[in-house]
């Protein structure tokens, strides 16, 4: 019996540490199936409602070309920002983050695992919603897919950063409230169901959701390039909030 506890400390290779954490994050997300459905349910409703009926006025004469990319952008925000902020806020409240902080995972490891799990989830959601869009008549172009992926990665990073920042500085109840409020405001003003208020270039910097939606519209619906101001806007959002999250992130 003796000797089994003889010390043999050490961290597993960082790649496998992060891989197990990603697996745990995805397992738990799948276990809260209702959250995933909700994260996709609202975008799906918007897609079918605004895309197939005349309930809202959208610019141009191709409703789906306007609505579907906006719904894809909304889904990214819903998962990377709202969902992640709420989950992380409660993980802090339950002491889960503290417990992980007392493990070999490390802070970069946790942040990387969380972001990877969110990205994986987003890919699945976007493919599913795009497929629904195509099924009801959306005709995407693939010439500028790389740019579409690029702006989506930037948007995901910006939303994740903001989510982790909020979860670090606010109480979990406040995080939930603020994340939901921002989601609703962005949904209303973000140019998803109807045209965003025309603020010119400034608008892209104020409303990342509108900027991301516009970039996806340009690339996927119109086979055009992403305006430089949108690259700059999403880039700035990503840099500012990822940096702030990395600075302010607390285990406790």
């Amino acid at each position: 019996m003796s000797g089994i506890f003889a010390p043999a400390p050490g961290r597993a290779p960082m790649r496998s540490v992060v891989a197990s954490q990603i697996r745990m994050e995805l397992t738990l997300t799948a276990r809260r199936g209702e959250a995933v459905v909700l994260a996709m349910g609202v975008p799906l409703l918007v897609l079918l409602g605004a895309g197939l009926t005349e309930v809202t006025n959208v610019p141009g004469n191709d409703r789906l070309a306007f609505v579907v990319p906006g719904v894809l952008a909304l889904t990214v925000m819903s998962t990377a920002f709202t969902g992640q902020a709420i989950t992380t806020g409660y993980e802090r409240a339950y002491g889960v983050l503290k417990r992980l902080g007392a493990s070999p995972l490390s802070r970069p490891g946790l942040l990387f695992a969380k972001t990877s799990a969110v990205l994986g989830l987003i890919v699945v959601q976007l493919v599913a919603l795009a497929a629904v869009g195509v099924a009801v008549g959306w005709r995407p172009h693939f010439g500028a897919t790389l740019s579409a992926v690029g702006v989506t990665v930037l948007a995901t990073a910006a939303y994740s950063g903001l989510a982790l920042l909020m979860a670090s500085v606010l109480r979990p109840e406040a995080t939930t409230g603020a994340a939901t409020l921002i989601y609703v405001l962005m949904l209303a003003a973000g140019g998803i169901m109807f045209a965003a208020p025309d603020l010119g270039t400034v608008g892209w910097f104020l409303l990342p959701l509108a900027a991301h939606a516009e970039a996806l519209r340009a690339t996927l619906s119109h086979d055009a390039s992403v305006p430089l101001s949108i690259w700059l806007s999403l880039g700035a959002w990503a840099v500012v909030f990822v940096t702030a999250a990395a600075r302010k992130f607390r285990w406790e």
Partner: protein, 305 residues
Amino acid sequence: MSDDAVEVNGLVVRYGGTTAVDGVSLTVPRGRVLSLLGHNGAGKTSLLQVCEGFRKADGGTVRVLGLDPIADHDTLMPRLGIMLQSGGVYPWATAGEILRLFASFAASPLDVDMLLDRLGLRKFERTRWRRLSGGEQQRLSLAIALVGRPELVFLDEPTAGMDTEARHTTWRLIEELRADGVSVLLTTHLLDEAERLADDVVIMSSGVVAATGTPAELTAAAGIDLLEVRAEPGLKPADGRLTDLKISETTPGEYAVTGALDAAAISAVLGWFAAAGAQVTAVNTRRRTLEDVYLALTTGEKAYR
């Protein structure tokens, strides 16, 4: 580089205007078990939190395995096993999933099934954390702390909320850790726990160290309280040197001696029995228990010297 597992020097921890830890120094030598004993609010957990790198010291220094718990966090964590006082696990994950997650973080983890068996958690392997009882959660937390085969473990009130059986299982496990060369710093307010497990005891009271020593030293310093002598019944002590002592025959042939029982006094007592021609068949000294010492220190009921 110091060879001590933990070195705390003049540690101060404040919460706003309250000073939770006020200049505490202690050392955990490698391979030993140090028990931090004190009431709730004595500052035990605050001290532990600084050692774990969760809280910055407001004064003094802390070195853990020769490293700074905050600056060297990422280097230190794989070498430590930390059992937090409560919570800290995904409520929707099962006991098995959690333990396997933490095992996967380690280079050469313990066998998860063995650990589940040892802690009586096997039947809860598929039970989610939030459905476990307080004692079961505690045992799982202990398993999480040990699964990475750490060289130093911090246990914050490890047996709180456990039933008697689980408590004894945990004690045997901690004894085994010590036997296998793991250094342990544990907090407790249970005296029997400290007395049974610890090589060294530090008694904290209101943020300061009230006493330090091995359990034997602490009780010995408190002196011998009672001398029991067995001899013929009916002896009547009448010796001037014994006036400071109280000798009474509790049952025929059993004498209880109380008072300032230093070596001279004990020799005088035995001298008197010899002079009386008594056949002394048994002599027994009773020391104060750690509990007496602890109560004296923390409540100030009895002067301690």
